[in-house]
């Protein structure tokens, strides 16, 4: 049976299950006595196990199975819920997530190995109370001093020779599997795979094919060359379970006896082999990665949205109405009935508007999806940083467009990390400042007219204005003169400047200089804005404002020369006419005095190099006043066509970054009109 058709459902559901488990485990951590929560996790893990088994994802199956064992023991009171247990469970969830995202991109769960995790789980089971100080007991390094003689082919001997000349190490590795090991070939595969990350395998006994076919007893021997030390390889192998012993021996020419004497024309042969050394042997690896790339391109599963059935019904109704109208229009064509034609057109208009609305609603998903991953993140962060933090979320039910959901996650993660890392003080410092020991991060979403607002607020130390100022001067973001003229609020906004980071020291979490400018760019690319409010020692608040949808917008269509362009209505402040005589040139820039403020004038025909545009206008010309934040500018156009709802289309990969153009739309007559990105003119 072809399982691919169920893949989308599987992905969607398993993601939901994972989120569910994460959320419940978080709650469980706070109330470990609640057996209901434990049962819930167990149930979800069980479902996941069943699902992945049906789909043939054995890694997930295996891991969830081991998780179940642990969970079962927890349920029966055989084990206690400790932080360690919870940590390991979280690790398992992460691993499962990795598998699932791997499936999403390549349609297969890949070769990720959870042996390490399964080991940990098993250790929990076997020694529930001494989990913290477990010992690596599986293997011992066998230092075999006695002379070893390994028979290898000419080829291998030469490769080893070349490798040792190049300063690489050549090792013989004998691996013996545990006698209880199930799926020997799979285990061997895992071992070979992990080895390949550190070393190149040049010989194996029995051959790789035989190992894959499970044609070996419990042990197999490999010869590898590697730039790594024995210890590193040993350590890597030790992390794999089901291995009885690992023997690693260093090889050099002395202890290799080739089964053929090396020929006299050794030099030539070696030279040839050296080439071979760098290509065919290693090409196995390359092929695999190429294959993986190919599948990742082809196998990308489509994105799905789960839709409330009521909304679909509504959509269905509207479409059927549309069909009725269509037949009616066809009829009126014959009857030449003007009146009825008009009626039908009106009705058509009403239905398309509703239809648009309905389709939009189908695309809307609660922002909960994005929010759900934050509690877990905050937990991990607060542990890493040793700060006590509580995350308060509200408005998770606020709905935004599916595209926004996908894009907004990263900027929010960044902001939350920022708040926790830079904003919230160390616990001792908070006590000293008479603040609540537990730092608060508030995440809030709410709809506001035609946009959605998301706020990230913390009660930390706020943004240090002097520090920002000093840093901005230091990085030449502003001049000394500017710094004296800017007010506090303007200075705070400087943190969005490229390459700006106020962290004193670089930490794992943030402060690498790729900072808030990335957040800002991302949000602006979604058509939104981001601002920051900050009060010293009270905290800071980032406010993100996003349009409800990205696909369909209101725009003003205009003429420049003979070409039609669309300007998004969001960017337009007003439309006016001015006397062309009143345009003054100040240092080559055209400016007009409009309502007693100076308004810079931009000629769209120049900005867009429009051919045969009438540059010398008649007495009056149309000006579209556009805004970006506080700044305004007047755009001179040759004619106004009118306001229209437009569907935004991408210009495609090749032209995506064309300056001044935000995309394209298709007009009623089928031709393409470009959407002007007025923000790029400031």
């Amino acid at each position: 049976m072809d399982m691919n058709q169920y893949l989308d459902i599987f992905m969607e559901e398993s993601k939901e299950h994972l989120q569910g488990m994460n959320a419940i485990l978080l709650r469980l951590e706070n109330s470990p006595k609640d057996s209901g929560l434990l049962n819930e996790i167990f149930r979800i893990a069980h479902t996941l196990k069943g699902m992945s088994g049906t789909m043939g994802f054995n890694n997930i199956l295996h891991l969830t199975h081991e998780m179940e064992n642990v969970l079962d023991n927890l349920r029966n009171g055989k084990m206690e819920i400790t932080t360690n247990v919870i940590d390991i469970l979280f690790e398992c969830f992460d691993q499962l997530e990795n598998y699932i995202s791997k499936i999403e991109s390549t349609n297969s769960e890949g070769e990720m190995i959870s042996g390490d995790l399964i080991n940990k789980l098993n250790r929990l089971l076997s020694s529930p109370n001494s989990v913290n100080d477990y010992v690596q007991e599986t293997t011992a390094i066998v230092k075999n001093e006695e002379e070893i003689n390994i028979e290898v082919s000419d080829y291998v001997a030469k490769v080893i020779k070349i490798a040792t000349e190049k300063g690489l190490g050549a090792y013989s590795i004998k691996i013996t599997l545990d006698s209880k090991c199930m799926l020997k070939s799979a285990r061997a595969y895992i071992i070979i795979n992990s080895l390949e990350r550190l070393a190149e395998i040049i010989h194996s006994e029995p051959s790789i094919e035989d190992i894959e076919d499970e044609k070996f007893d419990l042990s197999f021997q490999l010869i590898v060359v590697s730039e790594h030390e024995v210890e590193k390889i040993q350590k890597e192998l030790n992390s794999i379970s089901d291995i009885e012993s690992v023997e690693i021996k260093s090889l050099d020419e002395k202890n290799i006896s080739s089964n053929h004497s090396i020929a006299a024309n050794e030099e030539v042969a070696v030279a040839q082999e050296a080439i071979a050394f760098s290509s065919p042997n290693f090409s196995v690896n390359n092929n695999i990665s190429e294959e993986a790339e190919n599948t990742s391109k082809k196998g990308k599963s489509s994105k799905t949205v789960r839709v409330d059935i009521d909304r679909l019904d509504n959509l269905m109704n509207l479409v059927s109405e549309l069909i009725i109208i269509k037949t009616r229009l066809e009829d009126t064509d014959n009857a030449e009935d003007r009146q009825s034609m008009n009626e039908a057109t009106e009705q058509l208009e009403r239905i398309t508007t509703s239809l648009h609305d309905a389709v939009m609603k189908v695309r809307m998903v609660p922002i909960e999806r994005t929010f759900n991953r934050f509690p877990r993140m905050v937990r991990d962060l607060s542990r890493d940083l040793g700060k006590e933090i509580s995350l308060i979320m509200s408005g998770a039910e606020t709905e935004v467009d599916r595209t926004v959901i996908d894009e907004i996650g990263d900027p929010l993660i960044h902001l939350i990390r920022n708040s926790i890392d830079h904003g919230i003080e160390e616990t001792l410092e908070r006590v000293r400042l008479n603040k609540d020991k537990v730092g608060k991060v508030k995440l809030k979403a709410y709809p506001d007219g035609n946009s959605v607002v998301i706020e990230v607020e913390d009660d930390g130390k706020g943004i240090d204005i002097e520090k920002v100022k000093a840093k901005a001067l230091d990085k030449n973001v502003i001049t000394l003169q500017q710094s004296q003229m800017l007010d506090d609020n303007q200075i705070v906004q400087l943190i969005f400047a490229p390459g700006f980071s106020t962290a004193d020291k670089i930490s794992d979490i943030s402060g690498r200089g790729v900072g808030l400018d990335v957040v800002k760019t991302k949000i602006e690319s979604l058509g939104g804005t981001v601002e920051v409010d900050s009060v010293k020692n009270k905290g800071s608040k980032f406010i993100i404002r996003l349009p409800l949808t990205l696909a369909i917008i209101q725009a003003l269509l205009i003429y420049v020369g003979k070409e039609k362009y669309a300007i998004p209505l969001n960017n337009i402040k007003e439309i006016t006419t001015i006397d062309s005589d009143s345009i003054r040139k100040i240092q080559g820039n055209e400016v007009v005095l409009f309502r007693n403020t100076t308004l810079p004038i931009l000629r769209l025909s120049n900005l867009l190099d429009v051919p045969d545009a009438e540059n010398e206008n008649s007495a009056e010309c149309s000006v579209v006043i556009v805004k970006k934040g506080e700044k305004t500018a007047g755009i001179l156009v040759d004619g106004l066509i009118g306001q229209q709802e437009i569907v935004i289309k991408s210009l495609g990969k090749f032209l995506n970054n064309t300056s001044g153009i935000a995309g394209a739309t298709i007009l009623g007559n089928g031709s393409v009109a470009l959407i002007v990105d007025t923000n790029s003119f400031f």
Partner: protein
């Protein structure tokens, strides 16, 4: 060397300034008549504009400009060949296009001995069929020019 995916060596042949060119059929999506082309400001010089291809906006390359050939008017024979390369959909304007031919590999001559490998070397080889010479294009190189 060729860029063939697999073994297909069928080429869509088109005409430009009395020369015949071929692109591997694996890259060709459709061949369209010329519809309204919208100019894109600030795009590379050889981008003629964008067209509406059944609801998708697709960039069109003026291959004459790209090859430094003189401009020509759009006629009834002018076609846009829609190519798909690495998930990028793009059109090229050609004087006419009407045939698909199979050129076996041994009839394709490597061009490295004919042309010095300048930057504008977008030719994969030359196919020789019954006294005709068909210039086989390397589509990657035609498109891979965003930096310039």
């Amino acid at each position: 060397m060729s860029n063939n995916n697999g073994t297909t060596n069928q080429y869509v042949v088109f005409n430009l300034e009395n020369e015949y060119y071929g692109v591997n059929i694996n890259y060709v999506e459709t061949i369209e008549k010329v519809s309204a082309i919208t100019r894109v400001p600030k795009a590379p010089y050889y981008v003629k504009g964008v067209i509406n291809l059944r609801g998708e906006v697709v960039p069109v390359i003026d291959i004459r400009k790209r090859f430094n050939l003189p401009d020509s008017d759009i006629t009834d024979n002018t076609r846009i060949i829609i190519l798909s390369v690495e998930e990028m959909i793009m059109g090229i304007i050609v004087d006419s296009s009407s045939e698909v031919i199979t050129i076996s590999k041994d009839l394709i001559e490597n061009t490295s001995n004919l042309i010095n490998s300048s930057e504008d070397d977008y030719i994969n080889g030359i196919g020789k069929i019954e006294n005709r010479m068909i210039i086989l294009l390397d589509v990657h190189k035609i498109f891979d020019l965003k930096a310039s």
